[in-house]
Amino acid sequence: MTDLEQQLTDHLRERAAAATPHYDLEAVEAGLSLYAPVDLDRRRRRRLLTAAVVGVAAAVALVVAIAVVPEAQDGDAVTPVTEPDQDPMTTFVSPRNGFSVEYPEGGATVTPATQLLGFSQQVDDGFDVVETGLAAVFKGASTELPDGDPDGDSIDERVDEYLSDDYVLPDGCGVPRSQQAEITIDGESGRISECANRLEATVVAGGRLYLFTMTHGRSDARAVFDAFVATIDLRPEAAVDFPGLTTTFVSPTNGFSFDYPDRGGLAPATELWDPVNDQLDDNDYDAYPDPEGFDGVETGLGAYFLAASTPIPDGVSIDEWVDVYVLSGGCGVPRSQQAGITIDGQSGRISECAEPQRGRIEATVVAGGRLYLFTLLHDRPDARAFFDAWVATIDLRPEAAAVP
């Protein structure tokens, strides 16, 4: 036995001797009536929802700030009524928030949302913003709001909770949702509140909370708002619930760049990946730190990206070499039988593991004599869409990879 092995043996015995049981037989009996599996997916959704609502509120606050045009700041000055439907209408389809709305072409500008509500410090990033040119700014956003609540809170209470956060809606009207007037949006019953130079409407549809606001300097603001709302088409199935990839990382080791959501979760590789001598197995993906040689990004949203590359030895069959050395702990599908994927113009392969609470998507591609492996560890139902969005930002730069 080596010194290390003896040291380990002694250490493990010492730690084991210090272990003390906390429970007893009666606790087992009591536990039988209390035992229930943990719904991790629900936890994730609640985290997402909280973040999103924070973002919504902040964005709405920004809307208000923008909408308080000079006329609105002067309490006596309001713009004469101009119905928005006097101009030809154009339909805007939100790229992230799962709705469409029509707006008058004349003088209006639209800024689509680029981020999850609450994800960015720039609150407005989560909102689709329509500058109407009519002394009014219309904004819309949405976030996940699963049915039911473990705490038994009503929908109104849950919405109020989200919108009460200063980061979500710092200048909200503050009227409890249960006391707000009713409004119908795309056939769904919602609520609306009005305060100085501002309207706020919320509606829940398809497991999502929608928030529409308008800041204005108009005497007929409610009529203008209603005109916009009448054109809204809620499309919760089209909403995107993963964050926008807004920061670019250029790997100093692996010869690629990609965009990622920056929340402090970037962990660049500190060594070169050597799959032949340090072969990956299934457990490496559960290990901390990351497998050696991988650039990693923890999104904090049930998704962890890992990426690495390595020179391909001369004379090997790519599919066989990948099967033996790269994906030996993979999803079990030989590379030659995997689906195709295009990464930065190069034809690659992709496989998806669907273990409960431990999903994994792996894509491999060859460029410039290097084998690239891009992996997403996740517990998200929309993981493939998230992975595809990430892959679309990848720029392969084999010439820039570090040399052993």
Binding site: A16, Y23, A287, Y288
Partner: protein, 161 residues
């Protein structure tokens, strides 16, 4: 009604009451789980849940001992998996240069191992199991055990240098 009364009437297995089984296994299972997880609290929760599962199936289990072993191991694996992902962000918060005892250093190194490597090390150097026995516990091929232990030791040696 206390547990022993319940199992004195309905929970017998080859003449062994669940209460006797519980008492004979509890300390050893908690010790092993502590070594696999590095946390007394987590280990107790894991073992407790595993005992509940055994209790629920007591009348149908031919061999509750091995079943309990696997249940504890699988729960440790699940906890390790969830915790590992959280730990990925911790290095930003930890001062790696701060002094630590040899024991703490070994704890850190064990915590950084993939679960199967850690389990193989614990079962070999604490429980003294053979390669075949470790493979049986972990549900893997015997040929996997040696490489796991060797890789774990290599990583630890490298870190200790």
């Amino acid at each position: 009604m206390v547990m022993e009364e319940v199992h004195s009437t309905v929970g017998r297995l080859d003449g062994v009451a669940f209460g006797d089984f519980y008492r004979s296994e509890l300390d050893g299972q908690v010790r092993r789980a502590v070594l696999l997880l590095g946390s007394n609290d987590l280990a107790n929760d894991v073992v407790h849940d595993a005992f509940i599962e055994v209790y629920r199936r007591w009348d149908t289990l031919d061999e509750p001992g091995p079943y309990l072993h696997v249940a504890v191991l699988n729960r440790c694996r699940g906890v390790h998996r969830q915790r590992s992902r959280h730990l990925r962000l911790l290095p930003r918060l930890i001062d790696r240069d701060s002094p630590a005892s040899v024991g703490e250093h070994l704890d850190d190194l064990l915590a950084e191992l993939p679960f199967n490597q850690r389990a193989a090390v614990v079962l070999r150097f604490y429980a003294g199991l053979t390669t075949a026995e470790i493979a049986g516990e972990l549900g893997c091929a015997p040929g996997s055990v040696g490489p796991w232990i060797n890789r774990a030791l290599a990583k630890m040696r490298k870190a200790l240098q």
